[in-house]
């Protein structure tokens, strides 16, 4: 049994707690079935255990494959954190109304400054308003189906890239380091969500995966 524990420890390295539990349960079940069958064929218990262990193969290979299909610790963390953000926004009535009214207010301000020929200020306010709308308003919008989620994500990328071009204009390439620093957390979260979407069946998607 000690050998199976070592095998499992290696096989679940880097996996989230829930994934590790799943792996432990199924491998222990499998091991017991294999060992039981060997014992039924009059093989001595020690040899039966060794045969069942050998049939499982290299735990590092299994770990590499498990990481491709089950949630890892970092992916589970991204899922947990973005869920906390969503809950914070949705549960606080005051924050909810402020977030809902802010993009509209900023758009109005932007038009006002545009009318006053203060173009750079108008541009900045428009970008902040658009980004606020795209990141904070989805919890209140009916986008939680696969196709609507896809449309929302496409719009989100267009708004993000449009904001960069609008803010930095021709200097977008020169200011790449600054843009990368500012958008790194967003890109990291987006990439992790993309990986998680592939790993979870649609029926098990939490709300934040549609975003």
């Amino acid at each position: 049994m000690a050998t199976l524990d070592v095998w499992l420890k290696r096989a679940v390295r880097g996996l989230s707690q829930e994934s590790a539990e799943t792996v432990r349960r199924e491998i222990e079940e499998h091991f017991e079935a294999a060992r039981g069958e060997a014992l039924g064929s009059s093989i001595d218990p020690q040899q039966a255990g060794a045969m069942a262990m050998q049939a499982l193969g290299d735990p590092r290979v299994a770990n590499r494959q498990y990481r491709k299909v089950l949630l890892t610790k970092s992916e589970a963390k991204v899922l947990r954190n973005s869920n906390a953000e969503l809950r914070m926004i949705c549960s606080n009535g005051w924050a909810k109304w402020m977030i809902l009214s802010a993009p509209g207010t900023l758009l109005l301000l932007s038009v006002m400054f545009l009318a006053m020929h203060q173009y750079s200020l108008a541009k900045g306010i428009l970008v902040v308003g658009a980004l606020m709308a795209i990141f904070f308003m989805p919890p209140f919008m009916p986008i939680y189906t696969v196709s609507r989620g896809r449309i929302y994500r496409a719009i989100k990328w267009v708004v993000m890239l449009g904001s960069i071009v609008l803010l930095f204009g021709g200097d977008s390439r020169n200011g790449l380091w600054l843009i990368s620093c500012c958008f790194f957390p967003v890109l990291y979260t987006e990439w992790k969500r993309m990986v998680i979407r592939r790993k979870l069946p649609i029926g098990r998607w939490p709300r934040q995966l549609y975003l």
């Binding site: 079940e29 499998h30 079935a33 494959q65 491709k68 299909v69 979870l200 649609i202």
Partner: protein
């Protein structure tokens, strides 16, 4: 013999006959190929999870000999995937046979 890439198809093939648990699927693959298709059983479950994520199979709790087991059954999407995989494999097999036959 290396099973690389064909394990999901073989799993779907066995599940199309009847729902089963991981250990029995592994044994069936080995027995049906007279031991020619040998693979490490620790890699069977990642393949099953992948098929589950794709919606080709679904799992449920069952009991066998008084012991709780996770069973897997094929879904309509899985049957369609199996049909496509079979057709693709037959084409590939025909093409390779033609080349090897000529050699």
């Amino acid at each position: 013999m290396n099973l690389k890439g064909t394990l999901p198809t073989l799993i779907l093939e066995f599940l199309a006959q009847e729902p089963s648990h991981g250990y029995r699927i592994a044994q069936k693959i080995k027995q049906s190929s007279d031991g020619l298709l040998d693979f490490k059983e620790g890699t069977l479950y990642p393949a099953l999870h992948k098929l589950e994520n794709e919606g080709s199979v679904e799992s449920y709790e069952g009991v066998e000999s008084g012991r709780a087991r996770r069973y897997y059954r094929i879904t309509p999407a899985g049957r369609k995937a199996l049909k496509d995989d079979r057709a693709e494999w037959q084409q590939l097999s025909r093409a390779v046979s033609m080349i090897l036959g000529e050699a």
